[in-house]
C-alpha cells in the first residue's frame, strides 16, 4: 500500500514537472486497465514498471472507477493531450473506443490492446498483447478437471456473462473437447451458469448448481470472480471432497482454498509478463527496432523470444500455468 501511495505521488510529481524531466526524450507509455482496484491489473502494471525501469521509458497508469464501456474514454483523450507515445489499454468494450483510437493513431500514437483483444475491430489498434494461446484454455481446463475426477461424472461451467467474448470462445472449445476426445467421453456437461462476474450472483449460481445437480463432480469456472465464488460455496457446503473446482484465478484470490484443500489446482498465466512484453514491444516499435508485422521476433530477456502472429497478436506464453499446493507460494499477484 505504501509503495502504491508513493507511486501516486511520483506520478503526480512527474506530471507537474513535465517538460523539464526528459532531456533524453524517453518513450512515454501509459497503461489504462479496465478499472481501478482490480488486483489482476496490478500485476500487469508491475510488469510495465519493471520493463520501463530497464528500458528507460516513462510509464504512468490511470484507470476509471468502473469497467463500464465508455469510462476509459476521457482518460484516453487526456493522455493523448499529454502527448504520450504509446497507449496500452485493456478495453472495456470491443468497439466503443474505435473512434478515439483511430484519431490517436492518425497522430502517430501507438495503441496496444493488452490482456484481451477487440474481436472484429483489430484494425483500430496496432497490436494486441495476449497472455496465452487462448485456443488452449478450453482443453487445458477440461484436462485439469478430468485428472481430478478420474475423467468421469457430471460437470458444470460457471461463466461470467452470457455475452463475454473470451469466455464464450473457451466454453465452445471445452464443449468441443468433451465431445470429440474419447478420453473425456464419461464426463457429462450438465449446464452452463452465468454469474455475471458479480460476487453475489456468482455465489447464488454456484449454490444453485450444487442444489440442482446432486451428482455434480466438478465445476469449471473460467473467470476469476466465478472460480473464487465456486470455491467459497463448495467450502461452505463442505463438499470439497465431492465437487472439484477448477478454473482461471489469481494466486492471491485462490491461495486460501489451495492451502485448506478446497481446491486442488487452478490455472492462469502471468499478467506480469504481459506488462513486461508490452513495454519491450512498445519501446521497440517506437524506436524502430521492432517491425510491427507478422513473423517479427521480439526478444525479452525474461521471456525469451516471442513471435508476432496474425493480426499483430503477441502471446506471452504458449501454455497456461497450473497453480497448486507445490508452487503457489512462489507467486504473489
Amino acid at each position: 500500500m505504501l509503495r502504491n501511495k508513493w507511486m501516486l505521488v511520483a506520478a503526480l510529481g512527474a506530471s507537474l514537472l513535465t517538460g523539464a524531466a526528459y532531456a533524453a526524450d524517453p518513450v512515454k507509455i501509459v497503461y489504462i486497465p479496465k478499472n481501478t482496484g482490480n488486483p489482476y491489473f496490478d500485476s500487469i502494471i508491475k510488469g510495465f514498471e519493471d520493463g520501463c525501469k530497464k528500458l528507460g521509458c516513462e510509464f504512468t497508469t490511470v484507470a476509471p472507477a468502473t469497467a463500464e464501456a465508455t469510462s476509459q474514454i476521457p482518460f484516453l483523450t487526456a493522455q493523448l493531450q499529454r502527448g504520450v507515445d504509446v497507449v496500452a489499454i485493456s478495453p472495456n468494450s470491443p468497439d466503443a473506443l474505435n473512434q478515439v483510437f483511430d484519431r490517436a493513431r492518425s497522430k502517430g500514437t501507438i495503441i496496444l490492446s493488452v490482456n484481451s483483444d477487440m474481436p472484429g475491430n483489430e484494425d483500430h489498434r496496432d497490436a494486441a498483447i495476449l497472455p496465452v494461446d487462448f485456443t488452449k484454455t478450453g482443453p487445458s481446463q477440461v484436462e485439469l478437471l478430468g485428472s481430478q475426477i478420474g475423467y468421469e461424472g457430471d460437470i458444470a461451467i460457471l461463466s461470467a456473462t452470457t455475452d463475454a467474448p473470451d469466455q464464450n470462445v473457451w466454453i465452445a472449445a471445452m464443449k468441443d473437447t468433451l465431445e470429440k476426445d474419447p478420453k473425456y467421453a464419461k464426463m457429462k456437461l450438465v449446464t452452463i451458469a452465468y454469474g455475471d462476474d458479480d460476487p453475489q450472483k456468482s455465489t447464488t449460481e454456484a449454490e444453485a448448481l450444487l442444489a440442482n445437480y446432486p451428482n455434480l463432480r466438478g465445476i469449471i469456472s473460467p473467470t476469476t470472480v466465478g472460480v473464487a465464488a465456486a470455491a467459497q460455496v463448495v467450502e461452505t457446503a463442505k463438499k470439497a471432497d465431492k465437487v472439484k473446482v477448477v478454473g482461471l484465478g489469481t494466486p492471491n484470490q485462490m491461495r486460501r482454498f489451495i492451502e485448506n484443500g478446497t481446491v486442488d489446482a487452478f490455472q492462469l498465466w502471468s499478467p506480469y509478463n504481459e506488462g513486461l512484453l508490452a513495454a519491450y514491444f512498445a519501446v521497440g516499435v517506437k524506436n524502430g527496432t521492432i517491425k510491427n508485422e507478422a513473423g517479427t521476433v521480439v526478444e525479452v530477456p525474461e521471456l525469451g523470444k516471442v513471435t508476432i502472429g496474425d493480426k499483430s497478436v503477441l502471446k506471452t506464453q504458449a501454455d497456461l500455468t497450473t497453480f497448486d499446493k507445490k508452487n503457489i507460494g512462489d507467486f504473489n499477484f
Partner: protein, 328 residues
C-alpha cells in the same frame, strides 16, 4: 375507511401470500425449488440484505432515504479488512468495531448534512454515494482485501456456529429482533414512526426531530457497516470497486416489498423480513429457473414501482380514491 385499515393491516399477510404463491409457482415449473437445499441457500443469501434492510427501513420510516449504504458497506468492509490484514495479531472484535463504527460515522455525516441544511436526503446520499466510494478507494489504495487476508473465524461465520446454523444467519435474525424491540418498545423508536407519519407536527409535539433523524441515519450506517463484515464472511474477499456497488437498490427493493411506505410512518420489521425473504427467493429462483441474470434489475425496478402504486392506493383509500380527481 375500514378498507384502508384492513389493507394497511394486511400488508404483511399480503407479502406472505405473495411469497407462498411465488414459491409454489416456481416449484410447479421447477420442483427442485421446493427443497430443503433451497431453504439453506436462501438463508445464506439473505443475512447481507436483511441487516442493511433493517437500517434502511428505519430511514424510510422517518420519511427519508439512504442511497449511500452500498458505499458505506464497501467502506466498512475495506476498513475492517485492512485491520484484519495489517494487524492479524489484534483480536477479531476490533475488526467488527471498526466496521460498525466507521459505518456509523459515515451515516452520522449523512444525517448531519440532511438535518443541518434541511436538504432532501435522496440528493445528499446520492452525493455521499460517490463521496464515500471515493474515500474508500483512497483508504484502500485501490487494493482489494484477498481471501487469505480474511481470518478463518470470519469465513467460518458464513458456514457454521455452535448451533449448526451459520453465524451470519443468527446475526441477521438477532439484528431483526433488536430492531423490532427498539422500534416497538422504546420512546425513540415510536418517535421515528411519528416523524415519518407527520414531520411537521413532530417538533410541535415535543419530538427532537434533528437528533432522532441523525440517529436513524447513524443506525443505518452502522448496520451497513455490520453488513460489510457479513460480506467479507460470505464472499471471502473485499474489492473496492465491486463490494457494495448497486447494493442500495437491492435493499430498498426488499424494504418496499416488505410494505414499508416510502412516505414514512408505515412499516414493520416482520414485513421487512418477509420482503427480504421474498427477494432472496427471487434471487435463488432465477438461476434455478434458468432466467438470465439480466432480468434482475428490471424486476427490482418493477417491484419498487408496483409497491409505490399499492402504497398510494392504500393511502388514497382504495382504487376509487386513487382515481378521484383534484388535489389531494
Amino acid at each position: 375507511m375500514s378498507l384502508v385499515r384492513r389493507l394497511a393491516r394486511a400488508r404483511e399477510a399480503g407479502i406472505l401470500v405473495m411469497l407462498v404463491l411465488f414459491s409454489l409457482v416456481v416449484g410447479l415449473i421447477e420442483p427442485r425449488f421446493l427443497s430443503g437445499e433451497t431453504v439453506r441457500i436462501v438463508l445464506l443469501a439473505i443475512p447481507l440484505i436483511m441487516v442493511a434492510a433493517m437500517g434502511e427501513m428505519m430511514v424510510l420510516l422517518a420519511r427519508h432515504v439512504d442511497l449511500s449504504i452500498g458505499s458505506i458497506l464497501g467502506f466498512s468492509a475495506i476498513a475492517a479488512g485492512m485491520v484484519f490484514r495489517d494487524h492479524p495479531e489484534w483480536p477479531l472484535f476490533i475488526g467488527f468495531a471498526v466496521a460498525i463504527l466507521s459505518g456509523a460515522a459515515l451515516g452520522f455525516v449523512n444525517g448531519l448534512i440532511v438535518t443541518l441544511f434541511r436538504l432532501p436526503s435522496i440528493i445528499v446520499t446520492l452525493g455521499t454515494l460517490s463521496l464515500y466510494r471515493g474515500l474508500l478507494f483512497i483508504l484502500s489504495g485501490s487494493k482489494q482485501i484477498d481471501p487469505n487476508d480474511i481470518p478463518e473465524p470470519i469465513i467460518r461465520m458464513a458456514q457454521t456456529s455452535p448451533f449448526g446454523i451459520p453465524w451470519i444467519v443468527i446475526i441477521a435474525f438477532a439484528v431483526a429482533l433488536a430492531t423490532w424491540l427498539f422500534l416497538t418498545f422504546t420512546q425513540v423508536g415510536r418517535q421515528i414512526y411519528a416523524i415519518g407519519s407527520n414531520p411537521g407536527a413532530a417538533p410541535l409535539r415535543g419530538i427532537r426531530v434533528v437528533p432522532v433523524t441523525i440517529l436513524v441515519f447513524t443506525l443505518s450506517g452502522a448496520l451497513a457497516g455490520l453488513a460489510g463484515i457479513i460480506y467479507a464472511a460470505r464472499f471471502g474477499y473485499v474489492n473496492p470497486g465491486i463490494t457494495g456497488v448497486g447494493f442500495e437498490f437491492t435493499v430498498i427493493a426488499a424494504v418496499v416489498i416488505g410494505g414499508v411506505s416510502i412516505n414514512g410512518g408505515i412499516g414493520s420489521v416482520a414485513g421487512t423480513m418477509l420482503g427480504v425473504l421474498f427477494l432472496g427467493a427471487v434471487q435463488v429462483a432465477l438461476p434455478i429457473l434458468g432466467v438470465s441474470g439480466f432480468w434482475q434489475n428490471a424486476i427490482y425496478g418493477g417491484i419498487i414501482l408496483i409497491a409505490l402504486v399499492i402504497d398510494r392506493t392504500v393511502r388514497a383509500g382504495g382504487i376509487r380514491g386513487l382515481l378521484a380527481r383534484g388535489t389531494a
